[in-house]
């Protein structure tokens, strides 16, 4: 009788928790992506 019984609460805690971590990563990815796209714009502007 050692079978683990997962509840809806367990599911939401797990999925929302992983989504929060992902959203943090998304902010960093989008920031880096934007800097990559506009990198040469700035060089052109400085020159």
């Amino acid at each position: 009788m050692e079978h683990t019984f997962y509840t809806l609460h367990d599911f939401l805690v797990f999925t929302k928790g992983s989504a929060y971590y992902l959203m943090g990563a998304v902010i960093l990815v989008l920031l880096g992506f934007w800097l990559f796209i506009t990198g040469r714009d700035e060089e052109k502007f400085i020159k």
């Binding site: 999925t15 959203m23 998304v26 989008l30 992506f33 934007w34 990559f36 796209i37």
Partner: protein, 408 residues
């Protein structure tokens, strides 16, 4: 074709005309069969699959790929990016034709097409998502028609009604953006009713958001793609201003498309996490899903970014093709491939050759009308009669009058 006849350099029997002729001939035959033998006579639709290729391609893809109209006009008039003004009129024309063909395709797909106005005028069902989609498409088609009319009026030399419509541009744009936001997302919401039929990798409570965000990328990419084709085949119909501003439009739209696609990729991953669907990635459907979001979402986002950063216009143009294919693949996956995924193979839907022929017929009709209008009407150039008028209107270009005279 008209240009060829006018110049007299080519005969009417060209490979393009022969292929178009065959497609039109087949389309007319299928049209006759559809309206004499009914849907069962020409389609493989069934009770399990009442929506087939005509909904997946002609409607879902048609609406998504016609999103260039609201994205371009929003960029120009709502966000004030006037440097994209030259792209507005071709984008509006593409959107207007796209939505017109969506409605034309619906006449084939709906069992009793003469009852299409019933939901609006006879017996409405305002609690239905489909009602909202229908009403938005109906109103947006009218909006696009009004936005396109100034080109026809300039062609006919009618000034007063044209000026009245020009003054309505901002209001029409806002109305169009609101309607597009609503129905682009609602097309995704249609599939929320079928959680047990749609594969978990494609089913999500966020389907409306996915459809809306991807439609923006589709619209931006279609403007680049359509502009590239127009530059190649309708170059002589463009004036110097349009040509000189074209590269700026391509770079600007590619930058926007890169950001939108990367955002779309991120919310798709978050959607996976919220439904805890990771385990499905290691199945056959998972491989197909990964192909879609890695090959047709993430890859184009990166390619667009490289193209913008390195100013590689050819890379951007090919990436727009990849993005358009990706949007088509996504709509096909949601509505056909991953739909009814648990059914036995014998019960799955595959379109008949007549359904495919009719879809080709509708696209071909759209291409021909686009070519006719762009050849004769001021889409890529400015009518001489309105040139002086335009220079007064367009405060951003007081020295070099803008080719597009509708708007501010």
């Amino acid at each position: 074709m008209s240009a060829e006849v006018t110049t007299g350099k080519k005969t009417l029997i060209t490979p393009f005309n022969v292929v178009v002729g065959i497609i039109l001939f087949l389309g007319l035959i299928v049209t006759y069969l559809r309206f004499t033998k009914g849907l069962a006579g020409v389609t493989n639709l069934s009770d399990n699959n009442p929506w087939g290729l005509w909904i997946s391609f002609d409607l879902l893809c048609g609406v998504a790929l016609a999103a260039g109209g609201y994205t371009t006009s929003a960029a120009c008039y709502v966000f004030g990016l006037k440097r994209y003004h030259t792209a507005v009129r071709p984008a509006i024309l593409t959107a207007f034709l796209g939505y017109s063909l969506v409605v034309l395709a619906l006449h084939y797909d709906v069992g009793r097409p003469w009852r299409l106005p019933y939901p609006f005028f006879v017996q409405s069902g305002p609690t239905s998502v489909l009602f909202e989609v229908g009403l938005c498409v109906f109103l947006y088609l009218i909006t696009l028609f009004i936005e396109w009319v100034p080109a026809a009026l300039e062609w006919l030399g009618i000034k007063k009604p044209r000026d009245v419509i020009i003054r309505m541009t901002l209001a029409l744009t806002i109305f169009g953006v609101v309607l597009s936001t609503m129905h682009q997302s609602s097309l995704g919401a249609l599939y929320l009713i079928a959680p047990s039929k749609l594969h978990p990798l494609w089913y999500s409570a966020y389907l409306p958001i996915f459809f809306f965000v991807s439609s923006i990328a589709a619209g931006l990419s279609m403007v680049i793609f359509e502009g590239t084709l127009s530059h190649h085949y309708l170059h002589d119909k463009m004036d110097a201003t349009y040509r000189s501003e074209h590269d700026g439009v391509v770079l600007g739209f590619a930058k926007a498309a890169a950001v939108v696609l990367m955002g779309y990729f991120c919310i798709k991953i978050v959607g996976l996490a919220l439904d805890n669907n990771w385990s499905y990635l290691f199945t056959g459907y998972g491989a197909w899903y990964l192909l879609e979001i890695l090959g047709f979402v993430l890859l184009p986002a990166i390619l667009y970014a490289i193209g913008v950063r390195e100013r590689k216009l050819n890379l951007i143009k090919w990436t727009s093709v990849l993005t358009v294919l990706g949007i088509v693949l996504n709509r096909f996956n949601v509505s056909l491939v991953a739909f009814n995924w648990q059914l036995a193979p014998v019960d799955r839907y595959f379109p008949s050759w007549m359904e495919i022929a009719l879809s080709l017929f509708i696209v071909t009709v759209g291409l021909l009308i686009f070519r006719f209008i762009s050849t004769y009407m001021p889409i890529f150039y400015e009518e001489e009669k309105f040139r002086e008028h335009a220079s007064v209107e367009l405060h951003e270009h007081p020295v070099k009058p803008h080719p597009q005279t509708f708007g501010h």
